[in-house]
């Protein structure tokens, strides 16, 4: 087999024991070096791993499926939450006492601006969600516990989130306290919705 081009320079490092094959393509030649050992070893190892993995998770019945793993996590989280709920003893009186606690109200205001204002307005005057400053209430009669329940559990059908999922117990109480101070301040804003419950109640 005649080489049409000058043979490529011989290997100066002398590492290539392998014969230069008789293939020449447009002057390109090929050594026939053996496969690096580590390459072959890892290649086989990935096969062995794959067979073992598939057997464990899909054939042996021992492997945990994604759904099972999720259920375990879920249960643990539910238990944590249930324990937290046991330690909470939120009452109308407790919440009412916060109305005059300026530290709690200020903290609540901060949360309100960050989380609630996009829907209820910067001052609670209503925007996407209802006006919080009038004497009309859609859910309950405007008692502190009514505010707490709506804030904590949300109103799924109307797009009000359950804030207890995001806010810790203290943060939740303080934002309810702030909203409590807004009642009956009658800021101009969104038209009243729900039934009227004057402050005397």
């Amino acid at each position: 087999m005649a080489h049409t081009e000058e043979p490529q320079s011989s290997d100066p490092s002398g590492e290539h024991e392998a014969p230069l094959g008789d293939h020449v393509y447009d002057g390109i030649q090929e050594y026939d070096n053996p496969l690096p050992r580590w390459w072959t070893a890892i290649f086989w190892a990935t096969f062995v791993f794959s067979i073992g993995y598939f057997f464990h998770y899909h054939l042996s019945g021992n492997g945990q499926s994604v759904a099972q793993g999720y259920a375990v996590d879920r249960r643990a989280a539910d238990e944590t939450r249930a324990r937290e709920a046991l330690t909470q003893n939120v009452t109308e009186e407790l919440l009412a006492s916060l109305l005059t606690n300026s530290a709690a109200v200020d903290k609540g205001k901060e949360t309100f601006i960050g989380k609630c204002a996009v829907c209820h307005g910067q001052k609670g005057e209503g925007l996407i969600g209802p006006n919080l400053t009038d004497a009309h209430f859609i859910h309950g009669s405007g008692k502190m516990m009514d505010l707490y329940d709506v804030t904590s559990n949300g109103v799924d059908a109307k797009g009000m989130p359950a804030w207890s999922k995001q806010l810790g117990p203290e943060e939740l109480r303080s934002v309810v306290a702030f909203v409590g101070t807004l009642r009956h301040t009658n800021l101009p804003g969104k038209a009243p919705e729900g039934a009227e419950h004057p402050p005397s109640q």
């Binding site: 087999m1 490529q8 320079s9 290997d11 100066p12 490092s13 590492e15 290539h16 392998a18 230069l20 094959g21 293939h23 393509y25 447009d26 002057g27 390109i28 030649q29 090929e30 050594y31 026939d32 070096n33 053996p34 496969l35 690096p36 390459w39 890892i42 290649f43 990935t46 791993f49 794959s50 993995y53 598939f54 998770y57 899909h58 499926s65 994604v66 759904a67 793993g69 999720y70 996590d73 879920r74 989280a77 944590t80 937290e84 989380k115 996009v118 829907c119 209503g126 925007l127 996407i128 969600g129 799924d156 059908a157 109307k158 797009g159 999922k165 995001q166 810790g168 117990p169 969104k190």
Partner: protein, 750 residues
């Protein structure tokens, strides 16, 4: 070799290579500029100026398609046309087909550049182009295939070199992928619905998407490497048998790996596991290519410091090694749980696209320029500068985006000590990574600057070309019947075991492969068989086993108005930033709600699961907010979400919805088996849609929104968003009032 055969004279067609080379660098500039632009509007959303065609959702597909099909595509064709002729000692099969291929492909790119910003899209990643363009792609690709296989048929070189094997795998597999992922039912000249829905559509899409990376961005570039690297280095290829082994293992294993794009989704778990395991097994076959590249340079390393071509190749191959280690890593489910939907994936693909595809292309162009233009490269120094700023650009880009991805992924899953999400507002996790996005803009600018230098260098080289190009005439005898002898195992007369050992030895020595290399048909058929068999192993069970998609009785087709809204969602490219797939991971269900079930997507032609969460997941957004929230949010996202990166969509509340187009769309869906009732099918789609629109508009007004929106696009979009993910929350059919069932299902609202 029978020397008796009369030598034939022939020339190579380099004019076509010059065309493809220029197209490569020009589209390379367009693709990277589009990338820079979308990186910039991500940090400055106001730069979309309220123009539909300037939004991220519409331009991101333009960037990806330009990078893959225009830049890398033309580079592949330049490489194939230059090297194939020389490796086979023949001109291409037909100059006419070559020209048709070139101009057809450029026309397709122009069509893409026009239709994508107009919101004409199939919404499947890297397969966004609508059906008329898809047909054009198929035609041009077939022309390319005829030209390529025709050249093989009339070759004067007996055996096929490894580069040709890789080209064969590319030509065959891309055709299969393209055709089967783009099977659609048209609902107009520029609108279609895929024949697959939900889980199956997702599966087909990522079978395609992953293997587009494999057979459009990997195999042809390995072919390119096997030709241009030994040419530029003047060194023999390191190992012929490694070529054989890594070629066949790549071709066979790659196809299976697609489902790793769908870990923790509603895809059946066995498929997801196969995707992961085959990706892990792909690690060494990929590295086989890297080793064969880098070790070919043994004995030529001293030249790397002086030769920009070799520098580009070395860094390109190194990025290939990095990306193909990272690919298997990311396919491991627990790693993917963190990385998926984050910028980690974006960093991964850019180390591949900029490093591997980009640098291999630049290396090739600088090596080709003096040969194509028959003069010296205008400036070697400029090429050196290109190399360094390109490398720096990639590093700035990927380091920043890796950091962004890992940061955001960790923030999404962080819980505080009370078991609540540490960052419940999605936007907090976005605001945190914006500084990294600015670093990306910087890195991207460096890379683009490099592309400009390359273009200038090529243009100046071209300017110094001779008046007429020399066309050297080559000589070689035609191939007659093969007169050589095939290596055969010499099996002595021994017991069976010994004979078997000899056979095995023969197989391992791969001497048989030499026979295949002079039988292109056999080689091609086996490539096709490998690809098809591997595909069918996953496709058949995905489509036929009913338990893969358990039926949910409350899941119903979208109403005509919701379907129209969904088409707006698709056209605006919302899937580019929002997923619709809540994974069964607690940090996700806390944030978004119940995880997504396969049965919820049975009417989703096409699926909209998405692949990146630049904004939050939307699968459970239905009913989460009042209509008014959506109206204000689409008009100005920052008004409801401070710090949002979403561009405003003010035109949706001003543009009339095309009610007349709804009926054909419903009909097309019905043709696909979506059970629309008799009322809707009897030409009532428009009427039904108008009724629902006026209901939503009224509700919107009651919530304090403006009047008179019932005929606008925004109402359809709100209808769709409010429906999303709500079906499983409804009572099963038996308990529902039949009269209500017939009505539309306005979700949420007051």
């Amino acid at each position: 070799m029978p020397m008796s055969a009369r030598a034939e004279k022939f020339t190579y067609d380099d004019a076509i290579v010059r065309k493809f080379a220029f197209a490569t660098i020009i589209w390379g500039l367009v693709a990277t500029l589009a990338g820079l632009w979308v990186a910039l509007i991500m940090v400055v959303p106001a730069l979309s100026f309220g123009q539909p065609w300037l939004t991220f959702g519409r331009l991101r597909p333009l960037h990806t398609n330009a990078a893959i099909f225009a830049f890398a595509g033309n580079a592949v064709f330049a490489a194939v046309y230059y090297s194939t002729q020389r490796l086979l000692k023949t001109r291409m099969f037909s100059d006419g087909l070559s020209k048709f291929h070139f101009w057809g492909w450029q026309a397709i790119i122009v069509a893409a550049a026009i239709t994508l910003p107009l919101g004409i899209t199939q919404s499947k990643e890297y397969a966004e182009l609508e059906w008329p363009i898809d047909i054009a792609i198929a035609v041009v690709w077939v022309a390319f295939a005829i030209n390529f296989f025709g050249a093989i048929a009339k070759r004067r070189e007996r055996h096929l070199y490894v580069a040709i094997w890789f080209y064969i795998a590319t030509v065959i597999t891309v055709a299969i992928l393209h055709i089967f992922n783009n099977l659609v039912v048209p609902a107009g000249l520029f609108k279609s619905y895929p024949i697959y829905a939900g889980v199956q559509d997702a599966f087909m899409q990522w079978w395609y998407g992953h293997n587009a990376v494999a057979f459009f961005l990997t195999t042809p570039f390995l072919g390119l490497m096997y030709y241009f690297l030994p040419k530029a280095a003047g060194r023999p290829v390191f190992s012929y048998r490694l070529s054989i082994l890594h070629f066949w293992s790549l071709v066979f294993l790659y196809i299976w790996a697609g489902p790793h794009h769908l870990h923790y989704t509603a895809l059946p778990e066995w498929a997801s596991t196969l995707g992961m395991l085959f990706s892990v097994m792909l690690w060494m076959p990929s590295w086989g290519g890297m080793i064969n590249g880098l070790l070919t340079l043994r004995g030529a390393w001293n030249r790397v410091s002086q030769d920009p071509v070799l520098k580009f190749f070395v860094v390109g191959i190194t990025f290939y090694g990095m990306a193909t280690f990272e690919g298997p890593l990311l396919s491991i489910k627990s790693v993917n749980a963190l990385s998926h939907y984050t910028d980690w994936t974006i960093a991964h693909v850019h180390s591949g696209a900029l490093g591997w595809n980009g640098f291999m292309t630049f290396g090739m162009l600088y090596w080709l320029a003096p040969k194509l233009f028959q003069t010296q490269l205008w400036s070697k120094k400029l090429a050196e500068i290109h190399f360094w700023i390109g490398t720096l650009g990639i590093l700035f880009y990927i380091v920043a985006i890796y950091a962004a991805g890992v940061t955001q992924g960790l923030m999404w899953r962080a819980f505080d000590e009370t078991g609540r999400l540490a960052y419940p507002d999605f936007v907090e996790t976005v605001v945190r990574i914006i500084p990294m996005y600015w670093v990306r803009v910087f890195g991207g600018s460096l890379f683009v600057a490099g592309v400009v230098l390359c273009l200038v260098n090529l243009l100046m080289t071209w300017k110094h070309r001779p008046k007429t190009y020399e066309e050297p005439v080559h000589e070689a005898p035609p191939l007659g019947a093969y007169a050589g002898t095939d290596p055969k195992p010499t099996v002595p007369a021994h017991p069976t075991m010994v004979s078997f050992a000899y056979q095995l030895r023969y197989f391992i020595d791969a001497a048989w492969h030499r026979v295949w290399e002079r039988r292109p048909l056999k080689l091609s058929v086996w490539v096709a068989v490998s690809v098809v068999v591997a595909s069918l192993f996953e496709i058949i069970p995905t489509f036929l086993i009913r338990s893969n998609v358990p039926t949910i009785s409350t899941v119903e087709p979208y109403t005509p108005l919701e379907l129209a809204g969904r088409d707006i969602y698709v056209a605006e490219g919302c899937y580019n930033c929002h997923s619709q797939m809540v994974r069964p991971i607690r940090s996700e269900t806390e944030r978004y709600g119940e995880y997504s079930k396969p049965g919820e997507f049975v009417y989703d032609h096409p699926f909209q699961w998405g692949s990146r969460r630049i904004g939050p997941d939307l699968h459970r957004v239905g009913g989460k907010y009042p209509h008014l929230w959506h109206l204000r949010h689409m008009d100005d996202p920052a008004s409801t979400t401070q710090g949002s990166l979403m561009p405003p969509y003010p035109w949706l509340a001003q543009t009339e919805l095309d009610f007349a187009s709804i009926q054909p769309r419903v009909d097309a869906m019905a043709m696909l088996g979506v059970p629309y009732g008799k009322d809707v099918l009897a030409g009532q789609a428009e009427q039904t849609a108008r009724a629902q629109a006026s209901q939503i508009a009224t509700e919107l007004q009651q919530q304090g929104g403006p009047a008179g929106l019932e005929s606008k696009q925004i109402i359809a979009l709100i209808a769709y968003l409010q429906r999303l993910g709500t079906d499983i929350k409804r009572a099963p059919p038996a308990e529902r009032n039949p009269e209500l069932t017939a009505q539309s299902q306005p979700a949420g609202g007051q």
